[in-house]
């Protein structure tokens, strides 16, 4: 039985958003739900948001909705900041990272004062992803507000990317940051078509100069933290290390922890301007853990 009070989520049209929420409220005694939704996808998420509203009403859970947007990240940051600071009276916060963009995950986690609040995160795997495409029309990569580290002048940039199904976006990040070294963490395993859509496609970088490939498992207990740490260690003090994840959502937790452990490193987000309406189908296993 979970013992969370506040539940923070980002609304999505994916099956697993609503199915996951139902799973959570069955098992927990939530008192508040903070639901963010993107202006750009407001129409697509309206049905699920209404459903969450109804479920909260039935369970007598206080539910507040906040609109944020991809195109105005500063305003979105401020909205989150205003809602998260002052959460000192809340005993437990559960952050549902399933359909939450990585930038929002990192912003929320960094704003919660862990001196007062116990933080957990939850992630629902889908049953399957769409095979055609997941995201398109990439926007400019960006460093995350307040998590851009401490710059070392006169040293090269090292870029860590955890690859995902849109392997071509790796090139976009490399072109943008022009690092001297790129560390590519490739998710292990055959789950969810990973072999075909990620491992096979990442192989094209094997022979590229300045690129080092390694395997990582975001679904293990530390979400790849130790493996990634081993690979970034030689670069932490000698480069400006920028870390980004295009891979499994749980790897965002590993990167967040690494950023907290090594505050000189920067977290970068590679936004997309178009998501497949059929991004994923169904719901698979659920991961719940404390931060």
């Amino acid at each position: 039985m979970m013992n969370s009070n506040l539940f923070i989520t980002v609304a999505s049209w994916e099956d697993r958003f609503l199915l996951g929420f139902k799973r959570i409220i069955k098992k927990s005694n939530l008192t508040d739900v903070q639901m963010y939704y993107f202006e750009e996808y407001a129409e697509r998420t309206v049905e699920h948001r209404e459903a969450v509203k109804e479920l909260c009403k039935k369970k007598n859970i206080h539910n507040t909705n906040y609109q944020i947007s991809f195109k105005n990240s500063a305003e979105s940051w401020k909205t989150i900041y205003n809602n998260i600071t002052g959460l000192t009276k809340v005993a437990n916060v559960t952050v549902d990272i399933t359909t939450m963009p990585r930038e929002i995950i990192w912003t929320i986690l960094s704003q919660i004062d862990t001196n007062y609040v116990k933080v957990s995160y939850v992630y629902h795997k889908p049953e399957r992803y769409d095979e055609e495409w997941l995201t398109r029309d990439p926007a400019k990569p960006r460093l995350v507000y307040k998590l851009a580290g401490m710059t070392k002048l006169g040293v090269p940039t090292c870029l860590l990317i955890l690859t995902g199904y849109d392997v071509d976006r790796v090139q976009q990040l490399i072109n943008f940051f022009e690092p001297s070294t790129t560390l590519l963490g490739v998710q292990k395993g055959k789950q969810l078509n990973n072999l075909k859509c990620n491992i096979e496609k990442s192989k094209k970088y094997e022979k590229e100069p300045g690129i080092v490939l390694f395997n990582v498992d975001a679904y293990c207990t530390d979400h790849g933290f130790a493996e990634i740490e081993k690979h970034i260690e030689p670069y932490i003090n000698t480069t400006n290390l920028v870390m980004s994840s295009l891979g499994p959502k749980l790897s965002a937790i590993a990167l967040y922890r690494l950023n907290r452990k090594y505050p000189d490193t920067a977290l970068a987000y590679a936004p997309s301007r178009e998501f497949n309406p059929e991004y994923s189908h169904g719901i698979g296993g659920t991961y719940i853990n404390s931060l």
């Binding site: 990240s73 500063a74 940051w77 401020k78 900041y81 600071t85 960094s110 704003q111 495409w133 398109r136 029309d137 990439p138 926007a139 400019k140 960006r142 460093l143 507000y145 307040k146 998590l147 851009a148 580290g149 401490m150 710059t151 070392k152 002048l153 006169g154 090269p156 940039t157 849109d166 071509d168 976006r169 090139q171 976009q172 072109n175 940051f177 022009e178 001297s180 022979k207 100069p209 300045g210 400006n240 920028v242 505050p263 920067a266 970068a268 301007r273 178009e274």
Partner: protein
Amino acid sequence: MDYNNPFEYASAFKLGADKIVDFYVPDYNYSRFIRSRRNIFLVGERGCGKSMTLLYNSVPIQQKKVEKESSKLKLDILCVHIPCNTPLMYRREYQLLNDFKASIISEHFLVLKIMFDIADSLSKIPNLTKGIDESELRKELGFLLPIKLPSRKPVLDGLAICCQKAINDAEKVINAKGPNVFYENALSFSSGVLSLLICLREIPKLADSHFALMLDDAQVLNKHQIKVLNSWIAYRDNSLFSFKIATTKVDRPPLHTASGGEIFEGHDFTSIDMEQPYQNRLSDFGKLARDIIRLRLKKTGISILKTPEEFFPVNPQFEKDMKKCEDSVRKEARKKFINGTQKQITDYVYKYARAKYFRDRSKRANLPPYSGFETLVHLSTGVIRNLLEPPYWMYDKIISEKRSKGEENPMIDEIPNSVQTEIILDRSEKKWAFINKGLDETIEKCSREQAKQLENLFENLAILFKTRLLKHKSEPRAISFTISETRFEHYPKLEKLLILAQKAMLLNTYTSSAKDLGKRETYYVPNRILWPIRGLDPVGQHARVSIKAVHLWAAASENKKIPFSKSENTEERGLFNDEQ
């Protein structure tokens, strides 16, 4: 990759000082402008040599060069390389502040970065402060700048440390949780950079020095930094400092200043287009390309005596077949121009000999055996990185094969023509795969619809150029185009599309004079590596196809073929009149 590939084509930063000194070719381009007291913009897309030019001229590399040559560094113009593509410049916390505060913190970061690079660069000059009392200089710097220099370090090293500390102090404040956190002790250009330069002039050896502040990748600066930079460019007195700004053509920063004014080309700065229009042995780029390859072969000890043409030999059968075509076309020309001049004959051969080779090939024949140094230069489309990329993979292939056969230190004295053909076709195929897969997956702000339109556009350009190669009467090998009749409602959409193609490195542009009254006109040159897999001739001719905007748009948006007429639709340029 643990061997020394002479055709390393990645960013100039990765080459290291020795290779920059060895590989840089200072002639035939505009790098001489760098060592002037004028404000200069170097404009060009990725890979055209902007960073290499700036780095080569920078103090540390020049110091390395004079050490190699056992000579002495000239201190009249000191070029300071200031790379902007660093995580510091990507910080976005200024967006959480109001415009005034955002502008101040943005300038502070840029000023400290410049000051650090000045100190770091000058610290590479040996004995610069020899014979002067450093404590006096330290005092003066401490008086002018709000910093306390460490007394145990050489003054310039100490200054670099202070800049690093000042940046981190500001970052600590900026990284704090709230939205309105603001760093109070911010520096401006005049309180920081200008004070520093004035102070440095106190060093006797620098008393008459001019500081060329070379900002590389300036397109990444934020809007506040661009405005202050433009304001500094507008500063008319260039006796103490000037700016050399390298930026991409697409996304080139606007020219507004912080006070609402604007800087003007010719008045405040001079622009240099780093993309070179033509490639043949006599053109500037042709000479530059030859020297680049020759130097790389020589300096890496791979082939001291061989010329680039010998290192990249042409397929002998191709050469033989081409010779036959030339002879046959020459005969034809002599019949056509019975009392004609030699020029008429030569021009005729130039126009039709290569076209005849491509026209006479059997439909069932394989793709032509693309090879030879000249072909590589044409395939580069005037971009140095494009010139080096195929040779890099050719060299890599041969080394890998030799190693797999057990050779530990394989020697390569030429790239066989078969390997050249294989790699050229492979790179060409990969470029099309990049287009066909959907540019919306990699190119910023490219929608799915635009990606499809670009795929259609390049497909239809390939069809047009192929049709021309096989059928056009006067300019069969034209593979660049201009756009006519641009007063067309969808022209802005077409323009956006062409900008995306430039971003994707699929299209190069440059301006040249049009026929009517010397008006300047934009020439569009698709990346020539696209053509081999389509059986086209990447060695274009000095002509461009004039295409109506409405037809280009229809090709892109409706996948309609671009109209072709056997004898019209082309404007010929004089053979060499556009060459720089």
